[in-house]
Symmetry: C2
């Protein structure tokens, strides 16, 4: 079963009794809770896991595993325009892992958490798993204008993305910097209607934004920023660089929707040191599409696009 | 490497820069944080994991796996006298798991969380693990007198425990009810100096309380409540029932230290529907011991006791 179906199933199971303190529940990048007796402050919280052989290759340095595990969790906070507060980690160690490797991994987690301004405050370890895995819970506080969800895109909004996309599995997926500061700056400067991090691939995450907002997204292929890694990968595997940018995922860039006039300004200034690309518009939907350079209009699919014959 | 050493290592790594909002950090049953901008409200948060073949047998019903995963997390909240608020879960699915089994597990997690008054608000799933495992993060709010840690036992305090101990692996470890209400009632009625849940075994958890408080615990063997399951197990394996009560773990009962006069009262009233046993006293330490029925004084070891020759 694909995760999407499972999430839908869990949402059905939980929808009927969402408590009043739950401001954003399952299905977004993170939950937003307003703890009773907490003086009205909200917290943003998310759990994410990495598994050897799935999210990193066997033999990957513990330092990189620790970084990726933590950075993914914190990226989900960035995707809500939240400020990181702390993290917890549950590590499953395979029996063959040496004491030195176990120490290296926990040190990597502690140091990554500190670097990401989300110090490790709790954890658990279990020996006996066959593969190394680390589940990270990241906790944050809402940014200047509160948490921003993936829902809320409005027809006529501009669709923007930070940085460059595609080819992250060549290496960047282990070393990326979550776009926390950029998301906070974005929330401060603009009226952002929808925000998500590009973890599943631009096409899939664009469809998440479309579905959550009950809108469509029309992306212009020519304006999608394709990374050098995607171009290199395409040269080797014969696919098109654009396909990598749309489908690869693990980019952890920000995808967001906002009024076009604000988007135009971001094209000039960028966010922090990152370039911002205006890659499309929000439509009434319900279909999302990809506008090709030759004028064709392709339906946007979760794994990129499919040519209609 | 044993988990204790890893935790010590992590504490060394994190001790040098504990932020002001971190009220209780690594090494207790849960962390206590006071989020900035949260109006002074505190949250209690903990992560715990269960792994197939370690915490439950292969083939265990998803319903029981889901319950145990959630109940362990919530028990760590009880161990701080905290009130459950919500949970998040990261599940690692083995490739052979059927869609139906995956659905059963997530439904079990959702339903267990609801029953435990800690609704599931977030999660992640990953396929590709060789064994089923579930990491649960439980979030709570402090009880009537704030969170109670395992540190704080004072010489002269009485040492008490709820319920009966030992033999939980015969079945109870999959179905136990975390002692949330009992912990809240305890915190309301008494001046509890130290509190922990008995997850690693009475001997080990008593030593945790002793170490955290810089004290000793003198436990009276004759007063330790031994479960029927421990007695049955002992009849089969030739060990003593007391040894099971001390060493088995997975009881998830409450172990706590408080003024003797308050302990005496609890012996009469119990907590909720649970009996309370007064099993010893807190001493100056640093050694902890077990007072045997024949008058001998044995050093308390993490796995029960060792006879001195």
């Amino acid at each position: 079963m694909i995760e999407r179906e499972l999430i839908e199933y869990i949402r059905e199971l939980t929808a009927r009794d969402e408590p009043a303190w739950l401001k954003v529940g399952l299905g977004d990048d993170a939950a937003v809770i307003e703890p009773p007796g907490g003086g009205g402050g909200c917290l943003v919280i998310t759990t994410d896991t990495v598994v050897e052989g799935v999210h990193f290759e066997p033999g990957t340095e513990p330092r990189l595993v620790g970084w990726k595990a933590m950075a993914r969790g914190v990226s989900d906070l960035a995707a809500m325009a939240a400020r990181p507060l702390c993290t917890l980690a549950a590590a499953h160690f395979p029996p063959g892992l040496s004491d030195a490797a176990a120490r290296d991994l926990v040190r990597a987690l502690v140091e990554a958490a500190r670097t990401l301004s989300a110090p490790l405050v709790g954890g658990d370890t279990a020996a006996g798993a066959d593969r190394l895995s680390v589940a990270v819970t990241a906790v944050g506080t809402p940014g200047p204008k509160g948490a921003i969800t993936r829902a809320g895109a409005r027809p006529g909004d501009a669709v923007c993305v930070t940085g460059e996309l595609g080819g992250a599995m060549a290496g960047r997926h282990l070393t990326f910097r979550p776009r926390v500061e950029e998301a906070l700056e974005l929330a401060e400067r603009c009226d952002v209607h929808a925000l998500i991090d590009v973890s599943d691939g631009l096409s899939t995450d664009a469809l998440h934004v479309a579905e959550a907002g009950g809108v469509g997204l029309a992306l212009r292929a020519a304006d999608i920023p394709v990374s050098a890694a995607a171009t290199e990968m395409a040269a080797r595997d014969g696919r098109q660089p654009l396909q990598h940018a749309l489908a690869d995922g693990e980019d952890y860039e920000l995808l967001f929707c906002l009024p076009p006039v604000q988007a135009e300004r971001l094209l000039e200034t960028g966010l922090g040191e990152l370039a911002v690309s205006l890659i499309g518009e929000v439509t009434d939907g319900p279909e999302s599409c990809l506008l090709m350079p030759d004028g064709r209009r392709e339906p946007l699919r979760a794994e990129g696009w499919e040519h209609r014959t």
